[in-house]
């Protein structure tokens, strides 16, 4: 490029810059024939100046400076192209941010120099038009994925919903009741699950995982592994006789592997994960099934009225082509064993396990019992921030929902055991949602939940009791509670396998594995790859209303893409 123009923006957001020195430093750079400064280059008058200068000075290359290039690049590109240049003839240099070691002017000079270098290397691009395959892939069948699928399907496009477990529903369907209105997920999520199952535009691939992804926005090729269920789901009618007949019991994933007296939380080796499962189809757990472990059994095979059991089934693969992808892979809880000072004990459980104990549709039919002996606990301690906000031993972030679900636990526990007492250890109570603070105040006033401000330093068994050592920093006293059951509000982590999935999708994650949004404020739904959107807890801890909102938002982003017939992809021309 022979005639390069440099446009220096220096509004109040950018640290004061000595424009004279900048011009002096870059004036003698090869190709630079024009330099100008303006206070707000991003506003209409500034942009107009750029346009005029390109025409008047016959510029063939432009360096613009900006506080946030990612956001302004598109705007600048429009101006530059409207002045007759092409996209590759422009580079935006970032001026925001101050490095303690260097002063602002020096930083600006260096940023412009590097932009000039990039401009010199910049080559014409060729744009290709790719027709958009108007089919969507949603990965993860939790509430966020369900919402996204329904919204896309209702708009008339085909959706493939891939779910790792045998049924959609996700974490939400495991919960007892949901804060702050105490609706039960079995009542409010099941209709959405059923709609998803019956929607003519949605194809659920349950018990399946994404194996590989290639391609770009508009046309992704996705390979999906359908895990062997050892049941022909097309023949199966979901009657459930197989699981009634099966003689082998195992700990149930859906019950968070709770081991309750009388094995009431166990499932069979062939099982439908829960009563409202969608699809209502069983899978065989190879590790426990007697046919696989002992080589003989076949009770389910004999019982099945439609001959759907197929012990010879293998994993199979399907390849699909989609135009865009929504990732909604959700969360897992940090394992309790991560906190060394909390003993491993059947009566020290995490929040999801307690949800199963509280759930009216759960193994105990909502009766709260101690996993160790089945007795009703009379004093229960709930502990917030287990692993969260602990950069030294756990994760530094706040998991956002624990404050609320622990108080909901305490309140539901009091409803189940009116003569019981709930204690909650907390560091701060974070109630940012609608109706949340009122919910906590209600629990404190009506249900006499006692809050103790401080972290717990030890939880251990002492005879029949669980002892909790903590402190109440409000009184400055060290406190000890001998309770019957301790419930830990463990930190939320991205679900297992989400890092590997992110690699397959080439999208960025943060150091904990949460998928990175394109911009923390202005692009919270887009991943770092065009055509791949994020919804729910895969992007960061959030509660149900936020996950649903994000699911709907991601769907609308996807739909605005699908409202076009083709995308324009730009690639550097091979010279």
């Amino acid at each position: 490029m022979e005639r390069i123009g440099v446009f220096l923006c220096h509004c109040k957001l950018i640290p004061p810059i000595d424009t004279g020195r900048v011009f002096e430093a870059i004036g003698n750079k090869p190709g630079v024939v024009y330099a100008a400064d303006y206070e707000e280059m991003c506003m209409a008058p500034g942009l107009e100046r750029v346009k005029e200068a390109i025409k008047d000075e016959k510029l063939d290359g432009v360096v613009l400076t900006s506080c946030s290039p990612a956001l302004y690049e598109e705007t600048f590109r429009h101006i530059v192209t409207s002045a007759g240049l092409e996209g590759y003839q422009m580079v935006v240099a970032e001026l925001k941010g101050q490095d303690g070691a260097k002063e602002a002017t020096q930083r600006a000079i260096e940023a412009i120099e590097s932009a000039l270098e990039r401009l010199r290397m910049s080559r014409p691009t060729v744009s290709s038009r790719v027709p958009i395959t108007k089919r969507a892939l949603v990965i993860g069948g939790g509430i966020a994925g369900i919402q996204a699928s329904l919204d896309i399907a209702d708009a008339g496009y085909e959706v493939i919903l891939v779910e790792k477990t045998p049924s959609i529903g996700g974490r939400m369907i495991q919960l007892s009741e949901t804060f702050p209105t105490l609706d039960c997920p079995q009542c409010i999520e099941t209709p959405k699950m059923t709609d998803t199952g019956q929607h003519p535009n949605i194809k659920i691939l349950a018990y399946s995982e994404v194996e590989g992804v290639s391609g770009n926005i508009g046309k992704f090729k996705v390979k999906i592994r359908r895990k062997a269920a050892y049941v022909d789901w097309d023949k199966c009618n979901g009657c459930g006789i197989c699981q009634e007949r099966c003689a082998t019991k195992a700990l149930a994933e859906f019950q968070q592997y709770l081991d309750l007296p009388g094995k009431i939380a166990h499932r069979k080796a062939i099982y439908i994960p829960f009563a409202q499962a969608v699809p209502m189809r069983p899978v065989i757990d190879r590790e426990h099934c007697r046919y696989f472990t002992k080589g003989k059994c076949g009770l389910c095979e004999m019982a099945c009225p439609v001959g759907a059991i197929d012990f010879s089934q293998q994993d199979s693969f399907v390849e699909i082509e989609v135009g865009a992808i929504i990732v909604a892979t959700g969360f897992d809880l940090m394992p309790k064993s991560e906190i060394a000072e909390f003993e491993e004990d059947p009566d020290i459980i995490d929040g999801l396990e307690f949800e199963r104990l509280l759930c009216p549709a759960g193994p105990t039919a909502g009766k709260v019992i101690r996993p160790s002996d089945g007795r009703e606990p009379k004093e229960v301690v709930f502990i917030s921030c287990c692993g969260s906000r602990d950069p030294e031993h756990g994760v530094p972030y706040c998991s956002r929902v624990c404050c609320m679900y622990l108080v909901k636990h305490a309140l539901l526990y009091k409803h189940a055991v009116p003569d019981g007492q709930a204690y909650i250890f907390y560091m701060d109570i974070r109630t940012t949602g609608k109706g949340y603070e009122e919910f906590i105040q209600r629990a404190v006033e009506e249900d006499k939940v006692l809050y103790l401000r401080g972290r717990v330093s030890k939880v251990f068994r002492d005879g029949d009791k669980i002892k909790v050592w903590g402190s109440d920093t409000l009184t400055g006293k060290r406190v000890e509670i001998a309770c019957d059951l301790a419930v830990l509000g463990m930190a939320m982590l991205p679900s297992e396998g989400s890092k590997e999935l992110a690699v397959k999708l080439s999208i960025a994650t943060d150091e904990y594995g949460f998928m990175t949004e394109l911009h923390p404020k202005l692009c919270p739904l887009e991943s770092t790859v065009p055509g791949i959107y994020l919804a729910g807890c895969c992007q960061g801890p959030k509660d149900i209303p936020d996950a649903v909102a994000q699911g709907g938002g991601a769907a609308s982003k996807l739909l605005s893409l699908f409202s076009q017939d083709e995308v324009i992809l730009e690639e550097a021309a091979v010279s």
């Binding site: 007492q421 006033e445 001998a482």
Partner: protein
Amino acid sequence: MRVEISTKRIYSDFVKKVEEINGQTLPPCYQCGKCSAGCPMSFAMELLPNQIIRLVQLGLEEDIAKSNTIWICASCITCSLRCPRGVDLARVMEALRLITMRKNIDHVKISEIPQETIAELPQLAMVGGFRKLTA
């Protein structure tokens, strides 16, 4: 020493009595500290008003008895008026004083008040003081 927190303590006779006399249950307090921030007498108190409420919530009667707070309280009701949770602290303080005095414990011994003080004190203050500080 670790203080054992249990239902025995948080629903003790002491807590029940405080609630009965002041006519209000205490859990609403969320320990914001506004009462203490505005209390005109807090400079002389060993424990702040909000700490007293917290001790009542936990049933720690002995700690309250050890501090001078309830006797320093001037019953000006600034705290009660400003409390965002509607806790009537002045009444709680009065309840705590009554609980002590009902055990026949005087906070001031009238016979030990110096003659000069008596000569200077207005009659009204004396009556109020005896009413508030003696059994």
